[in-house]
């Protein structure tokens, strides 16, 4: 792999064929692009940045004292997916999400998958994300993962892999919506020329989906609210945005109390009951009486209300276990066990460092591999072997040997590229894709999603916390 020089030599580019002709989904767009004045596009790009700054579409990067609010760079060249490609993805994602829900229901009830010897018992029961409080309890409608953001990467024309399932609290959907809004404002003509499937309905679908899973104790029209850790949380903008778009209250733990067996919020008229809580607060902080006693972000006693069937919590507590990267490595078995079919979407091959043979291999091949913490997310605490320095690799090897169970390793995939706008024109950059999935009595996949793009040439790290950007993502009708 050539470092810091363009992109991975063999990366699949989604816009351009090797012979410099556009790939089919991009043909209309490419024609438009060729007719554009580059200076106008660069000016538009600045406009977009101003729109985002003015609107306050910001996020916080932890560990940066002085930069409490950052913009995620937006690139105005869309990422385009054909209808045919999308159908294939959507089927694979639906299968996977159904399997995840069945898996969660199983591990908190009969644990048949453990008894069948497909997944080791200790991986489940010793997992910090496994919540004994959920054993024997079935959430309303049997749904654990109301909102899922499946991370997909692509390496070739027909090669898609699931990188992560993100069944706990996937974020970023506000960027999907704002990116589309911004593109439609700036380039309305593109939406006349291309038949782009709409994503704008997401907040509506989300509200309906949440309301349809109201708890048994709810009489009348279900009252939905979004629970945020507060204004200093990195995704606060998104929490406010979703509450606003759904037309529901944005609440904090301090607004809520358990009164008469219901979770109620303090309003200007007194306390009013909430039926469905879309919480963006982690399990640990949800209920200081059940989990971390020092948490000020949650609601004391909410777990009792939950178990009594008087509130729906989305996503269900204990769902996080399916985001564990060691569990991830068992996903092919999990999908097959619950759906009776081979997975339609592939997993990235994964070495579990807890297994001595694998650990040995990983240590010997560090410079080819990506090593991740099993509970990590956001691109924190991982090693990208090929771009890391010798010293970084040596340091990481020590950590790996000290706590092998804490890590998994994957080959460095040659992620597909989509061009971004740069000063001299366009240049290919690696991307991934996070479509959003809503689960109620049906599985709805929003045609589109969040495309994250590495802005540095050759970089494979697309996380916004690590300097990645985003693109509008188009799924075409065909």
């Amino acid at each position: 792999m050539v470092e810091n020089k363009g992109t991975t030599p063999l990366a699949f580019d989604e816009m351009m064929n090797a012979d410099s002709s556009p790939r089919q989904p991009y043909s209309t767009y490419h024609e438009w692009y060729a007719s554009q004045d580059r200076n106008r596009l660069i000016a538009k790009s600045k406009d977009a940045e101003n729109i985002f700054r003015k609107t306050g579409i910001t996020f916080a990067v932890y560990g940066h004292a002085d930069s409490s609010e950052k913009l995620i760079p937006f690139d105005l060249i869309p990422r385009i997916i054909s209808g045919r490609e999308w159908r294939k993805l959507a089927q694979g994602i639906e299968q996977r999400v159904i399997a995840l829900n069945a898996f969660l229901d199983d591990i908190y009830h009969k644990q048949e998958i453990i008894r069948a010897g497909r997944v080791p018992r200790e991986l489940i029961e010793k997992n910090v994300a496994f919540l004994p409080q959920m054993i024997g309890f079935r959430p309303p409608g049997g749904v654990y993962t109301h909102i899922v953001g499946t991370d997909i990467v692509r390496t070739g024309e027909d090669q898609f892999y699931v990188l992560e399932d993100n069944a706990r609290t996937p974020s970023g959907v506000s960027y999907m919506l704002e990116n589309r809004e911004t593109m439609m404002q700036m380039f309305p003509e593109l939406f006349h020329q291309n038949r782009v499937r709409p994503v704008e309905n997401y907040p509506n679908l989300l509200r309906q989906s949440l309301a349809s899973l109201a708890p048994p104790g709810c009489s009348g029209k279900p009252r939905v609210a979004v629970l945020t850790p507060g204004i200093y949380n990195s995704a606060y903008y998104e929490h406010a945005f979703l509450a606003d778009m759904m037309g529901v209250e944005l609440v904090e733990g301090s607004d809520l109390r358990v009164i008469d067996g219901k979770v109620k919020m303090r309003t200007t008229r007194g306390y009013e009951a909430i039926d469905v809580l879309y919480r963006r607060v982690d399990d640990d902080f949800l209920d200081p009486l059940t989990f971390r006693p020092e948490s000020a972000l949650g609601v004391p006693g909410i777990m009792d209300v939950y178990r009594a069937g008087n509130i729906t919590i989305a996503n269900a507590p204990g769902t996080g276990i399916s985001d564990d990267k060691a569990i991830y490595s068992y996903m092919p078995e999990i999908v097959e066990f619950y759906t009776g079919r081979k997975p339609l979407l592939e997993n990235v091959p994964t070495w579990r460092c807890s297994e001595p043979q694998s650990l040995k291999y990983v240590l010997e091949h560090l410079e080819e591999l990506v090593v991740k913490e099993v509970h990590g997310s956001g691109g924190y605490g991982m090693l990208v072997g090929p771009t890391a320095s010798k010293k970084e690799r040596a340091l990481f090897a020590e950590k790996l040997k000290a706590r092998p169970t804490n890590y998994i390793a994957q080959p460095t995939l040659s992620l597909s590229t989509v061009p971004i706008l740069v000063n001299k024109g366009i240049a290919p950059r690696h991307v991934d894709l996070r479509p959003y999935v809503l689960v109620s009595d049906k599985v709805q996949i929003i045609p589109g999603g969040l495309t994250r793009v590495a802005l540095k040439a050759g970089s494979l790290v697309v996380n916004s916390s690590q300097g990645g950007g985003t693109k509008d993502t188009w799924v075409l009708e065909d």
């Binding site: 003015k54 609107t55 204004i231 406010a240 944005l250 301090s254 303090r266 309003t267 200007t268 008229r269």
Partner: protein, 312 residues
């Protein structure tokens, strides 16, 4: 609506109002320094007192200079009433209650913050002051315009307005109280240039120097100035006007919620008193005592509103 949201709206608008008032006080101070033949730092003493931060200033600074006073009022984070502190706090509250605001109102507030943060990132030069004051007023005006032009007239609107007018009443009363002695008939050597400057600065602090002439004789007279800022129901920064607005907004809430609180009694009583008492009566009884009373009563009303509507 959440009690916390009502609280956030109330404070958002108090802070924005205070930012504008601080800017106006600086403006009046600058003006006074200009019209004086010999500029004195003592003028800033009065300005700092009007802003209610005279003691705080001494905690941060050894001596009183116009440069330090302006900086303290404009951008010192150690001063919670400085323009920048207020804009930051206002925007912080706006971010917290974002779901209650129209996009236009939020954007106007956010843009105000972004621009002021850039402009006030370093000490202002005296030559920049007119432009800075102008920008603050324009930005505050844009927030007000977006708010009035786009917000639904519901409880959100009412709590915001109540915040604005509680703050404004407090500011006007304080400005008068700091200068009450120059308005006393006994001390007033009518017509001396010294008094004229002082009186005009009072009117300037509330942007009322032009309007005064429309209502009263062109000649400045202490009792007319006091009447204008206390009892005149048409003067948008007078105590009477502020209480008309507070009472009517509380009235909307009362009708909507079908619920009356202690705050309603207090506001109605204060308004009735403002309407019925003549300015001569107030001045005879003691202007200073009257204003002191008013300020503490106004604070109490703020607390009663917070209790009645479960702000915390």
């Amino acid at each position: 609506m959440l009690g916390r949201t009502a609280n956030g709206l109330y404070w958002m608008f108090r802070y924005i109002e205070r930012a504008e008032n601080s800017a106006r006080l600086i403006d009046a101070g600058l003006r006074m320094a200009l019209t004086r033949s010999e500029a004195t730092e003592g003028d800033w003493d009065g300005v700092l007192q009007s802003a209610g931060v005279r003691e705080l200033y001494d905690e941060v600074h050894e001596t009183l200079t116009s440069i330090d006073a302006i900086d303290f009022l404009l951008r010192d984070r150690a001063n919670p009433s400085s323009v920048m502190s207020c804009i930051e706090a206002g925007r912080h509250n706006a971010r917290m209650v974002r779901t209650a605001l129209t996009r236009e109102t939020w954007e106007a507030t956010n843009e105000c913050y972004l621009e002021m943060k850039a402009i006030l990132s370093r000490k202002a030069r005296p030559t920049d002051m007119p432009e800075i004051i102008d920008t603050i007023k324009r930005r505050a005006g844009l927030i007000r315009g977006a708010f009035h032009g786009t917000m639904l007239r519901n409880e959100i609107f009412n709590f915001s307005r109540i915040g604005t007018f509680i703050e404004r009443a407090d500011n006007t009363a304080r400005i008068l109280d700091v200068k009450y002695y120059v308005l006393l008939p006994a001390v007033a050597a009518v017509g001396s240039s010294m008094d004229n400057v002082q009186w005009e600065s009072i009117l300037r602090s509330v942007s009322a120097h032009r309007a005064y002439g429309w209502v009263y004789d062109a000649e400045l007279k202490p009792s007319n100035i006091a009447d204008f800022l206390i009892s005149n129901g048409r003067m948008p920064r007078s105590l009477a006007y502020c209480y008309e607005k507070i009472a009517s907004n509380l009235g909307y809430l009362e009708r909507e919620y079908g619920e009356r609180h202690q705050a309603h009694e207090t506001a109605d009583r204060t308004l009735a008193a403002l309407r019925s008492r003549s300015i001569t009566d107030i001045m005879d009884q003691g202007l200073h005592e009257y204003l002191e009373d008013f300020i503490s009563q106004n604070n109490r009303l703020g607390q009663e509103i917070s209790d009645g509507y479960r702000f915390n």
